[in-house]
Subunit: 289 residues, 3 copies
């Protein structure tokens, strides 16, 4: 088997020289190697290369340079409804950025992260908040999702000279705990699942609700916004009721919650949004007015 | 920390020279850097490099060159049931290609896209139809999924010299709308969710059903096939009923729909297929005969 | 449009030379190209580069070198609860490795695979078992997921000099079939879905239960562990009941099953674990004691 990577180790100058007399088939193989690398890199480049053209806030969507060569309609939609979406009054651009990067991390869509991490910083999301969003989603979307996001955020932070002084400490003084509410929550979960999976009951209390949720560098309302966005974006319908109620207890308004669903229709697809709607409606109707 | 990428910027010739007296540990680090790039590229290479061996239509599956070094059984299954699948009479190779690339885009599996985009073109799916499939799934699978697909399709189109003249315009003359049916649909959704999330109700009418679905470069029946395939492939069971009915209204037969589920068992996994089956069965039974 | 890849073909030495007098904007473009490649590679590098620091079994988690520059808390959690998780008595490190790599393959999270494939081998999972896990998940997670895993495993195997002699044959002598049980299963599925999708009914019998499940190089209990882990990790709640019962018939204990859910809370996110819990509880309660 031809190793598709063996070419890149040699000096390109030598490469050109040695190609001169080579068999056409060999050249074809080399072209193919080329194409492979091009494909690999352009995947990432798509979003990355557009990073700093959009810091002015006037183009809060992927400018989709490439789409003209594949799907010209996408550019039309980007400049139309997608641009309009970010200006809708129900949710601030900062909130929309939190919703969007939560969806991308939850769905592990790394190639769009550089663009939207930069946009989030431009929209007023602090580096320490992005740091906490990633940490939070390590638990709500899975450890590997957070690791992927770390790899991207590291580059974005480095490019913007964001240093350790702008990051949250590993172990900060925690926010005060509502001990009664937590005991009530823990007791209910213990009764339901304590004999099924004692480990998760233990970690849910000790690591999540007595630690992660109390970290001060992301406001509880924003932490809830991250959680609800991740749940909707990854189709976790069964977990929305608890966390949307918690989000609204933490200050998310009904209008904002509805607008989160609208925003996620674009970033996580219409089906995820429509599967969430009946649950969101049910939560709205059952909450005390 | 060793920067895993610092090596590739230097000339490989210099690299070899400077390696000569270097500490074994350092060399190990450099080997590791190499391995990192190799891994990155070979991931993409797997499918890409096999692109043009299969244009004859006789090997309509991933030839899985690499699997012999990891899982020899996969090659056996590729040459057996997977090859057989593409020849089953219930669905044409063109339809199977539409189902497959819809599943890959919905699941964001970019590394298989080059191979299957090429196969789709070989099986008679037009470039303008691939363009519309990606545009359609920007809304039904999420914006980032479409952006990834664009990056891959761009390379495939370039390699096959597919230019702008073969792509659909951004704003074509739309197909005629069944105004009564659309008003009925919109009214039902407005009554259900108009107060929960007015934004999504608005965009569902204006962007999806009064625009996207009327774009002429993908037949309504094929657009439905794309939608249903994406729903099944991403486990969106709750949205299947509406769209499978719409697909069958648009001309998809019962035999074809059943064969879509069979096809997706291979490309989206048995669990997604089996979770779809009860809903598909229910739709079949409730439709007027 | 600037081609983001055109730089890498030239010798870096020439690059430096020709840069000297170039326009600042051009340099910026070149820096950007650099950044693109760095981002592409560091994504993969994150997990890969940490491979051999952890073969002693004392650090059975991602050491997350990079997280200090983005999310210092992640390193704390990695050294705390995540390290503790792998030492919990309910499940052996070997089983935890099987659960983890099944989750990564099911979720197509390639960038964490090199690290965890290596860890699995260190924890006593045989190369032939990893081979069978990938083959098994080609059907339970989808063909493309297996292809991605093959591309990563190939590199891991090559680095560890694991050759064809350590892999299972494509067509081994199969384990004996419980003909009565299989006929019963097949009949039930035929009655339910035989008219809806005859193809999937056919392949489920012939390819899965009369072939794949009988391959001898992964014990039925482990094959069930792989299946259940993949189902929970990808949110396939509706398919858990059948396969968890089968897993327990194959020897998975209740304590182990509960610990699988706990383990997957970390590797597939809390929501997937909590959505699985009611089903797991229900299976436990309904089984004969």
């Amino acid at each position: 088997m031809v190793k598709p990577w063996s070419g890149w180790r040699r000096s390109p100058t030598n490469n050109t020289a040695s190609d001169r007399g080579s068999h056409p088939e060999l050249r074809k193989v080399k072209m193919k190697r080329m194409a492979v690398m091009v494909a690999a890199l352009s995947l990432i480049a798509t979003s990355w290369a557009q990073g700093d053209d959009t810091k002015d806030g006037r183009k809060p969507m992927q400018t989709v340079n490439d789409s003209g060569m594949v799907a010209p309609a996408l550019e039309k939609y980007a400049q139309g409804p997608l641009a309009e979406l970010w200006k809708r009054p129900g949710l601030t651009p900062r909130d929309r950025s939190i919703v969007t990067i939560s969806a991308l991390i939850a769905r592990n869509q790394t190639i769009e992260m550089p663009y939207y991490f930069n946009l989030a910083l431009d929209n007023g999301v602090k580096p320490r908040e992005i740091s906490e969003i990633i940490t939070h989603l390590a638990f709500y979307s899975g450890w590997a999702n957070a690791m992927s996001a770390v790899a991207v955020a590291k580059e974005v932070f480095a490019e913007r000279k964001i240093g350790a002084d702008q990051l949250p400490p590993a172990s900060p003084a925690l926010l005060p705990l509502d001990e009664d509410a937590e005991v009530k929550r823990a007791t209910a979960v213990e009764q339901q699942f304590g004999k099924v999976a004692p480990g998760i009951v233990h970690y849910t209390a000790d690591v999540l609700f007595r630690d992660l949720w109390l970290r001060p560098d992301l406001a509880p309302r924003d932490r809830s916004l991250v959680t609800v966005s991740a749940l909707i974006a990854s189709g976790q319908v069964a977990q929305i009721t608890y966390h949307l109620n918690r989000a609204m207890d933490n200050g998310l308004t009904q209008e904002q919650a509805g607008e989160v669903v609208t925003h996620l229709a674009f970033y996580a697809g219409w089906p995820n949004a429509f599967s969430a709607l009946p649950v969101v409606k049910d939560v709205f109707e059952k909450r005390p007015h």
